[in-house]
């Protein structure tokens, strides 16, 4: 399938350990946090690249976010993708899952001719895992989520995805076009290929679309397209714990633990 067109949705996320809460605005303060490509998306990228190696075709990276994401996204090109589409507009900001999936779907429609979309299983800052099915729904694509293996039948134009469920697994088959989400740790993402680094940073490999470039309904994007609001942020409630340190030789500690366990169980 030399003309197979794949899209990999990459998200740039703040490093989770560097996010703070702004007490006044009740917003997550991400500006001070350094950014990285969402690690689970690297598994999605790797799976798409493995398909490209076997069957040909091209890979487009699709992202919604501010222009300063550019250098991180170009790493995706240096891994082996062909082009970047960055959906960037102030009015896309503050989007929850509904608005995000709508905007990404509009990007996919504008790219045209997309057969197969890869997403990570979740994102390290939001972790909802709800983007892949939502995106599939807007586009009326089929979906298989949380797969750790994919097989493409180029002539039949179907894919088979294998996923782990309840002490077992299932293999699902759907016709293209489809959205898949790739299970965390299902493969070893490759490093970027330094030989193509200069190529990856060439200007024309990236297209930036604002809301005026996309056929979007203003009601459906950003804050106005987002049903959910954060009404309050707080430090998560945790139980008070004794925090008593047990000391001694391993044998002495074991004896103390034995008593604690016998009392408790």
């Amino acid at each position: 399938m030399a003309n197979l067109h794949m899209v990999v949705c990459l998200k740039v996320v703040p490093k989770p350990e560097e996010i703070r809460v702004d007490k006044k605005t009740n917003r997550l303060e991400r500006t001070d946090a350094r950014s990285e490509l969402n690690p689970p998306d690297m598994n999605a990228m790797e799976m798409a690249l493995s398909i490209k190696e076997r069957y040909g075709g091209k890979i487009s990276i699709l992202t919604m976010g501010p222009p300063y994401f550019e250098p991180l996204l170009r790493v995706g090109l240096a891994m082996g993708a062909d082009h970047i589409y960055l959906l960037s507009d102030r009015d896309f900001g503050g989007a929850d899952t509904l608005a995000t999936t709508y905007t990404l779907a509009k990007g996919v429609e504008k790219i045209e001719g997309v057969d197969l979309i890869f997403c990570g299983e979740e994102s390290s800052d939001g972790a909802t895992g709800q983007v892949p099915p939502g995106l599939a729904e807007w586009l009326d694509f089929n979906q298989i989520t949380m797969i750790n293996n994919i097989e493409l039948a180029p002539r039949k134009k179907t894919i088979r995805g294998r996923r782990e469920i309840k002490a077992g697994h299932e293999i699902l088959e759907v016709p293209l076009p489809a959205v898949v989400s790739v299970a965390v740790a299902s493969n070893e993402p490759r490093f970027m290929d330094y030989r193509i680094k200069d190529w990856a940073f060439e200007e024309e490999r990236m297209t930036v679309w604002s809301k005026d470039d996309l056929d979007v309904d203003a009601e459906y994007i950003g804050v106005s397209g987002s049903p959910t609001i954060v009404s309050d942020l707080a430090q998560a409630a945790t139980r008070e714990r004794k925090r008593e340190f047990l000391t001694g030789t391993p044998e002495e500690i074991a004896d103390k633990l034995k008593v604690i366990l016998q009392d408790a169980l």
């Binding site: 899952t97 608005a99 709800q130 099915p133 729904e137 077992g168 609001i229 714990r241 366990l261």
Partner: protein, 340 residues
């Protein structure tokens, strides 16, 4: 602003629960949601409805009633025998649009998430995933969902004002299961099925499900983190001696040392044992939410500064490979005594 297909005015004062079933039995998370839903419904004087989808599953309705449902909406059809996201979304959509519940809750299982994600877009509503708590504000009729896990242990309370149904997914174990009351009865409403086989694009080529382990209800939990270097034999030996079972943090699961269903935490299961023993676990908040319902927490870590100790009753600064063998030896000697 984008509007859901029905709004606050048309929505009925009902909490709906997606009843996930396998082999004629309801999933634990569905029972947990029924119990939580019952409490919220009683408090607000709303009704609790279970949505049951499958083939020849009508008998399961009684189980749902005994756990609190007032009504079961039943979609029974050969095409619904195994879960496919196409068929289940269609049927759920039809049911939702006919009955217009104000709240719709699903377990955050692979199938529950697939269905929730598609349905929320189809009805143009919001979806709060992996909630760690839920409350129904009865004055405003608004579901307040708590979501944790943005680094640093931050909890966000999330609401939707204008969109219905208010959807949320919850991980297994977040809520305790209720006590069934076999005498409770309810009403079954059969849903007319308008499915055609050729609209179902998903083909289930192979499906193997095991018994599965349910760590949510074990009395004692021994958790192995990255620090145990994959030595789950050691963990199993200890768990066996105290009548418990073995869980893990995410790294050993990702590295393939142990099955994913044993992952504890935000994206795993939440357990509520009498005792949990964390071995070589650093204490990331993603993990801590999974053990903080334990009555007693014991942690062993070589690093005195490890964050896990903030969430621990009995802290041991030491090497798991010294402490655990000593503990199993101590516990085995008791056993021998007990057996004479």
């Amino acid at each position: 602003m984008v509007a859901s297909l029905y709004g606050v005015k048309q929505a009925k004062k009902a909490i709906w629960i997606f009843l996930e079933q396998e082999g004629g039995k309801l999933e634990g998370v569905s029972l947990e949601l029924l119990d939580k839903g019952r409490q919220m419904a009683d408090n607000a004087n709303w009704s609790l409805v279970g949505l049951l989808i499958g083939k020849d599953v009508s008998e399961i309705a009684d189980e749902a009633f005994s756990y609190g449902a007032d009504v079961v909406v039943l979609a029974d059809d050969p095409l619904l025998d195994v879960f496919t996201v196409d068929a289940y979304t269609q049927v759920t959509y039809d049911a939702i649009m006919e009955h217009k519940p104000s709240v719709f809750l699903l377990g955050a299982t692979p199938n529950g998430r697939d269905l929730a994600g598609r349905l929320a877009v189809r009805v143009r509503t919001g979806l709060n995933a992996d909630c760690t708590n839920l409350n129904l504000d009865k004055k405003r009729g608004i579901l307040v969902s708590e979501v944790t896990g943005f680094g640093g242990g931050i909890a966000a309370l999330i609401e939707m004002q204008n969109h219905r149904p208010q959807m949320a997914t919850v991980r297994p174990g977040v809520f305790p299961p209720g006590e069934p009351d076999k005498k409770r009865k309810g009403k079954v409403i059969k849903l007319p099925i308008k499915l055609e086989a050729d609209t179902i694009k998903t083909k289930v080529v192979e499906r193997v499900v095991g018994e599965g382990v349910d760590l949510t209800q074990v009395p004692a939990l021994v958790v192995g983190g990255r620090g145990i270097e994959g030595d789950f034999g050691l963990m199993r030996e200890l768990a066996g001696l105290i009548g418990g079972d073995v869980g893990a943090t995410r790294p050993p699961v990702d590295d393939g040392y142990i099955e994913r269903e044993r992952q504890i935490g935000q994206t795993g299961v939440v357990c509520r044992p009498k005792v949990s023993i964390n071995c070589g676990v650093s204490g990331a908040f993603h993990f801590v939410v999974g053990v903080q319902e334990s009555d007693i927490v014991i942690s062993i870590n070589t690093d005195q500064e490890a964050p896990i100790f903030d969430f621990t009753d009995y802290c041991i600064v030491g090497d798991v490979f010294e402490i655990i063998p000593a503990l199993t030896a101590a516990l085995s000697s008791v056993k021998e005594l007990a057996h004479g």
